[in-house]
């Protein structure tokens, strides 16, 4: 049985977006993040939703909050590297599961990826 309506909570979407930006150095280690209110404006969501996303990121050690100042991206570059690796692994797992369900063999998967990487079609 399938479960439709897979609407991922907005705070999780924001978390993942920021994670990606941390992992790809859009936000640099130790950098001061925009304030909750600014991010809420940017993302067009309620400040509480941003607050929750950032609290979760703090719990995961990727962000450190400093009251009366703001939030900093972690300086722990090892943690950032680990985050990056996790994102890559997750994307890869999802992809491979997808194409395995389409009955592609490992060899076919590799061939597909290779040809896609050579021919630079979007």
């Amino acid at each position: 049985m399938e479960s439709f309506q897979n609407t991922q909570p907005i705070y999780l979407q924001i978390m993942n977006l920021i994670k990606k930006q941390i992992a790809t150095s859009v936000f640099n280690p130790g950098q001061l993040l925009e304030s909750v209110r600014e991010l809420a404006m940017i993302y067009q969501v309620n400040p509480n939703t941003v607050q929750r996303a950032l609290s979760e990121l703090e719990r995961e050690g990727l962000v450190r909050s400093e009251r009366t100042i703001g939030r900093y991206i972690t300086k722990d570059e090892a943690a950032i590297a680990q985050l990056h690796q996790n994102l890559v692994d997750e994307a890869t797992s999802t992809y491979i599961n997808n194409v395995l369900e389409l009955h592609l063999s490992p060899e076919e998967i590799l061939t597909t990826v290779k040809s896609r990487l050579k021919g630079d079609n979007t």
Copy 2:
């Protein structure tokens, strides 16, 4: 600017599910599909939603409706092969865009996929 709240319409989700089943021969070419009512029961959705999904599939030539009898999967095996190819390509494009955004080089992508295919960790 990001757009959150990406609830994909249920009829699209059902379309994609059926496409996958056609492409992987869960449904065979020329096979008679379950009725709209039955599919609605199976997927736990409104019959109108199933109806819409099937109409779209018919527009794409993957399903053919025979009034008073029901709906058949297309016998056009070339179209099915093409569908399969499209699904693979789409998944591959999405994946590669994802990891390119994570700043992986083509070589790193290949390495990642290979290692994931060898060590068959879920």
Copy 3:
């Protein structure tokens, strides 16, 4: 320098209250808890505040939430025993720090506790 206004967040107070009730078998292992709305009525706070307290307890593994049904106290009796031990240790630490600040020697502390336990004055 002292920091006055030590107002502990309500959701933490509720967490600690429920923890104590779990540790002392007011709530039994596996028992179904009152609903968020009921607890909000009982504690005279907003349902969101109760929700937060329970989410934290779930994160600590003391409560398990079952959607459409409610929340259960964990069946993990080892975890409950550990919780009980933690509460005892915390209370003891706080107490001993207090009386050490009052310049009591360990012998005096023991004497005080003993005499308090014999003479059953409240």
Copy 4:
């Protein structure tokens, strides 16, 4: 029924702080206290709040005000000894009530305190 939001009035917090300092000879018997204004600076609170705390202490006989000079700690060493005893007793009562609520037997309480006093883990 529980009552949350237990913000203890600041003047009470200051009273208790000064009591502790009297009981532990941070302030000596007969010593001249800092002025209300100075204490307000030290504690970062409104002078009225300090005023109220000192008035209460005077009512309890622990402080004596000498107009145009200032406030003195009482010279009554018996009163100070009694104060010290009260603080110890109060802390002890609170602690023992806490652990009794956690269903510890008197023997277990003693064991817990002893072990905590030996292993001096903070």
